[in-house]
């Protein structure tokens, strides 16, 4: 079981219901009951998804009220997006550099 933040975030995002919940929360805080409304799903089933999202740091839940409103936390998403960008840039850059380097090696080879 992977425990690093990226794996946890990816796992949390892998489920369509959880993505829909996050999409709903971009419009503002909501209660479990409000979040459950669009799904053919019981309160406890939705609560289970919320615990996964909470563990991944993607949402926080109010402490004070019994209905504990859920709120989106964007930081892990930003980290994932940043990581994605860096990853792509890493290999794009490397492959372009390899094109150039192979040219250079072959030019040296040919001029011997």
């Amino acid at each position: 079981m992977a425990t690093d933040q990226l794996s946890i975030t990816f796992s949390a995002l892998a489920d369509p219901t959880r993505r829909a919940i996050l999409a709903r929360l971009t419009r503002g805080e909501a209660t479990v009951k409000e979040l459950a409304a669009p799904f053919a799903m019981s309160g406890p089933a939705v609560s289970k998804h919320l615990r996964v999202l909470e563990r991944a740091g993607l949402i926080t839940r109010g402490r004070e009220a019994q209905w504990r409103p859920c709120k989106l936390e964007a930081t892990p998403l930003k980290e994932v997006a940043q990581w994605a960008d860096d990853y792509r840039r890493f290999w794009d850059t490397s492959f372009s550099q390899l094109d150039a380097y192979l040219d250079e090696l072959q030019t040296k080879e040919n001029s011997k």
Binding site: L6, F10, S11, A81, A84, Y87, F95, Q97, L102, D103
Partner: protein, 167 residues
Amino acid sequence: MTPAPAVGTTDYQWPTDTEFVYTRVFDAPAKLVYDAWTKPEHMVNWLGFEGDTMKVPVMDVRPGGDFRWEFYRGDSDELQVVIYGTYSEVREPEFLANTEIMEFGGMTTPSTDCTLTFSSEDGKTKVTGTVVYPDAESAKGARESGMTTGMDVGFDRLDALFAGRKS
């Protein structure tokens, strides 16, 4: 079969729910491309971000052998990226199989099973890389999280994620 991409572009596919495949053609013989990928004196000349310094403390290219590649920002001692794993199959100059973990930005990928195939085509070399995720869930997370709508945090970029090479 889709035709091989031209030199300078990378093609990518998700053939199954845990597997990602990329293809890129290099204008050089297979032996040279293989050497560029496996010999530290060549690797440090192309792998990594522009301007970074690459160090290869471990590169034991044989079945059961480990590798560790470290990338430092500029000439500093600030470690930016680490890629490490273990080779399981080595057939010079055509095939490599290994596990691979990549760390950067304080994050770590799940351990993936990777292969690299170098095949000669008209004096050029087609490199086919496969990356297999430990489970459908983490692959799906990497692949599909970009489909969420309503996010304003660059979710759309996630699809390009591990598929990444296409710009």
